[in-house]
Symmetry: C3
Subunit: 207 residues, 3 copies
């Protein structure tokens, strides 16, 4: 139940971020709602294709898409308000990322995935929507550019689920530990501005 | 039989539109034929992946791809003629869009899709090729930018198929009603320049 | 065994090419390793999705991804050295392309693909990673732009596998003949600067 609420919150926040890019790019109503839907449920659709779940859950059942479209509509009409809400959006996005990473990893384990596949699919679920959003907007994915940590917390959260599953503890332990850890690491990275390095300008071992 | 002819016409017109983008971007023969093939059969391939039909029909059987490649070759050699034919191309494209939307929706229903999945997959079949074309060309998909209606007619056509199926009428009724409606709505949108709104510049409820 | 070695060599070289684009675009460590992984195993993942193999082999089993990540890490630290190694990289890339084209085609035949599907899937396996790399980098795929032959040798190699299979000769004959032919044709194209034509500026049959 709480998991459903968090899942819907994640979809809504992701959909807002997609719809906002559509507003910024002067897309029309269809374009803005499409960006919202693709960003909100895109990661889950890629997850399902990798697991052989067809049609993907977000295509087959109405709640996920409905949430994404409502979030897109709200963004369409009230987008200037979202700038003032930016800190709240970042906070909810961190929760959504954590929820998607752990739920994606657990679903993968339930579908005969190996440990590495579960981690990869957890990451994909968390970051897939954002990558689709940026590719559709004609931009280099934010995920690849130097920025605050995003995929690394998702990876840690998914990894926690896999480890807890391997140890044999109940599923909800992994969901809680992994989700809280992923979200916390993301928020800490935002707070203290943690970044990964870019490539050294000159090769190591030479001068 | 008529459905096959319309399907091939749709693939050919979509392939021409992809190949023309390739010509405009100075791609070589391979690039132009690839753009034609990806645009002509790309929507159907995405549809099949969403439905779990592997290998996708357009990959497994030769006619669709052959049509797309012939259309691409004709575009390669005779592309200046296509500018004079532009109104005819727009007309055929509207028919192709309608055919793809209704046939995609019907195929989805035949593969245990829900009503919402059938509508989404019908839209995807109709617009997928064009989105792939634009992403490969490094452009923001035309579908998202403010323009004449395109995806909305596809959605209406797919919806008609789902409603007719739900009512229990025979399949061909839905194909005809949905296809004619989608194509007609598209042509009307071109004729009278119907557009969807972009986002309001300032939030509603504020001043 | 030799096939495994060549497969790993292909993944490593493809991963380097993706990671180098990431270095050039100033991505951070995560972005560079992601580009390497997507380029190294992306073609194989698309191949598996087209064949209904879920989760895809490179997601489910660790060796392919591990090779790609090691190659990405080496590129991260030692990328200036790669410029001096450019001829060797081109040579290994030609081998990787040949291996991916023939192994993809053979895997497709083993999964009930038609002849045309096997050729298409062989090409996809060989060129898919590079297309994903360029789309993620926000560039028009190199594959589509006028350049030395790349996809055509892959097509010839995959075709050789299909023909040898149709004739009834043992699989390894097709792998060897197709792989050597594809790699040789690619190297010859580089050596003598073979290119495909772009579209004629004025339509044929007019003046």
């Amino acid at each position: 139940m709480l998991q459903d609420v968090l899942n819907f919150a994640g979809i809504a926040v992701f959909a807002c971020s997609g719809a906002l890019v559509g507003v910024r790019k002067d897309f029309d109503l269809w374009g803005i709602l499409s960006m919202g839907a693709a960003t909100g449920v895109g990661g889950g659709i890629v997850r399902d294709l990798l697991l052989g779940i067809t049609p993907p859950t977000s295509v087959q059942h109405w709640p996920n898409l409905t949430i994404a479209i409502i979030a897109g509509l709200l963004t369409f009409f009230f987008h200037p308000a979202f700038k003032r809400l930016y800190p709240a959006v970042l906070f909810l996005d961190a929760i959504g990322m954590g929820v998607f990473a752990v739920s994606g990893a657990l679903l993968a384990l339930d579908h005969a995935s190996s440990a590495i596949a579960a981690v990869l699919i957890g990451i994909t679920t968390a970051v897939g929507g954002g990558v689709i959003r940026d590719v559709l907007a004609g931009e280099v994915p934010l995920l690849l550019r130097p920025s605050d940590l995003y995929a690394v917390p998702a990876m840690c959260g998914a990894l926690a689920v896999v480890i807890v599953d391997g140890v044999g503890w109940p599923d909800w332990t992994g969901l809680v530990v992994g989700g809280v850890f992923a979200t916390g690491l993301r928020l800490a990275s935002l707070q203290w501005n943690w970044k990964l390095p870019t490539a050294p300008q000159r090769a190591l071992g030479r001068r």
